[in-house]
């Protein structure tokens, strides 16, 4: 019965959306602001990766909201799970196999490096703070699988998180105080396609990378903690 009702409901929604999709044909140029971003993006922001310039510069406020959402979820998750407790010393942990252990120890630094590379070059090549941060967090996920008993220090991760977010906000406020708008790109744009270009974009993306990495690692750490 319940399944039938849900099916009928879904068919109605689907019909509506198909009707509305007729106005949006596939694969034909119809972009308006997107077109402007592509044509003027490099000139206005200095980043060769237009997606990065949209994410950090044109729609930077969304990104601020986005890292806030991740922060909210991390805080809410630890509030729901209850206070953080370290694993007791005598507790039995199933040791991982030799291959897993060695593989994880080998991969962990490489993944950290790849993550850092991706968010440092966010304004030049595909990738950026979120992707790099997620890769760093998966390095920590591997570490939890492979090296028993190793945990990140909670205080360190909180300090990294807070500093990452504050960098973003402080850069925004500097833009505001020197007479322009919030999040105004006040640093020199530099030569496109070099590492030191695009003003505040790489700075913000590096801050986001650290923040997202430590936050996601913290989320995994909280969830993996067995005892409450």
């Amino acid at each position: 019965m319940r399944k039938l009702i849900s099916l009928i409901l879904l068919v109605i929604i689907a019909g509506g959306i198909v009707l509305s999709l007729k106005e949006i044909p596939f694969g034909i140029s119809k972009i308006k602001i997107g077109d402007y971003y592509i044509k003027k993006g490099i000139e206005e922001t200095g980043a060769t990766n237009i997606v990065t310039s949209v994410v950090v510069s044109y729609r930077g406020f969304d990104t601020l909201g986005e890292i806030t959402i991740l922060f909210t979820a991390a805080i809410g998750l630890s509030a729901v799970l209850g206070t953080y407790r370290k694993r007791k010393a005598g507790e039995k942990v199933e040791p991982p196999s030799f291959i897993v252990k060695t593989g994880c120890r080998f991969l962990f630094p490489i993944l950290l490096l790849v993550g850092a590379y991706i968010f440092i070059h966010g304004h030049l090549t595909p990738g950026g703070g979120f992707q790099g941060g997620a890769i760093i967090a998966s390095a920590f996920l591997l570490m939890y699988l492979g090296c028993e008993g190793k945990r990140i220090n909670e205080n360190t991760s909180i300090v990294v998180e807070v500093l990452g977010a504050l960098t973003f906000i402080v850069l925004g406020i500097i833009g505001l105080t020197i007479g322009k708008d919030f999040l105004f790109n006040f640093l020199p744009k530099g030569e496109p396609n070099t590492l030191l270009s695009a003003g505040i974009i790489p700075v913000i993306y590096i801050a986001i990378g650290f923040k997202v990495g430590s936050e996601l690692a913290g989320i995994i750490d909280h969830l993996i903690e067995k005892n409450q």
Partner: protein
């Protein structure tokens, strides 16, 4: 065939959305419901990216010289989807935390069996 290749991305995206919504509406197990939510998220992301695609276009990155601006796909949906993916992860992590906590309280994940509160 022509029709299929024209609309295959839309078909894929909306199939995911509707399968996901069906899981959310019809399944009883909380973890299953959350899996449904994640499939809905993926479907929506695919839909948004498809919106910005231009046939024969290139990625909006001026990584090498000779790329023409006219041929690039729309960067805005890609930026939106980056945001949407992170929002999705946040909601999923919170939902799974609540599921773990719910299991601790009730010993079950069956939503029909959890009826402490009347609707």
């Amino acid at each position: 065939m022509n029709f299929l290749s024209e609309y295959i991305y839309y078909i894929g995206a909306f199939s995911l959305i509707f399968i996901g919504l069906f899981i959310v509406l019809a399944k009883k197990n909380l973890i299953k419901v959350i899996i449904g939510l994640s499939i809905v998220d993926t479907g929506i992301n695919l839909f948004l990216i498809t919106l910005g695609y231009i046939r024969g276009g290139t990625a909006p990155v001026f990584s090498k010289p000779g790329l023409k601006a006219e041929n690039m796909v729309d960067p805005v949906p890609q930026a939106l989807v980056l945001t949407a993916i992170v929002i999705g992860v946040a909601v999923l992590a919170l939902a799974l935390t609540l599921a773990i906590k719910l299991y601790k309280h009730y010993g079950t994940l069956n939503l029909r069996k959890i009826k402490e509160q009347k609707w």
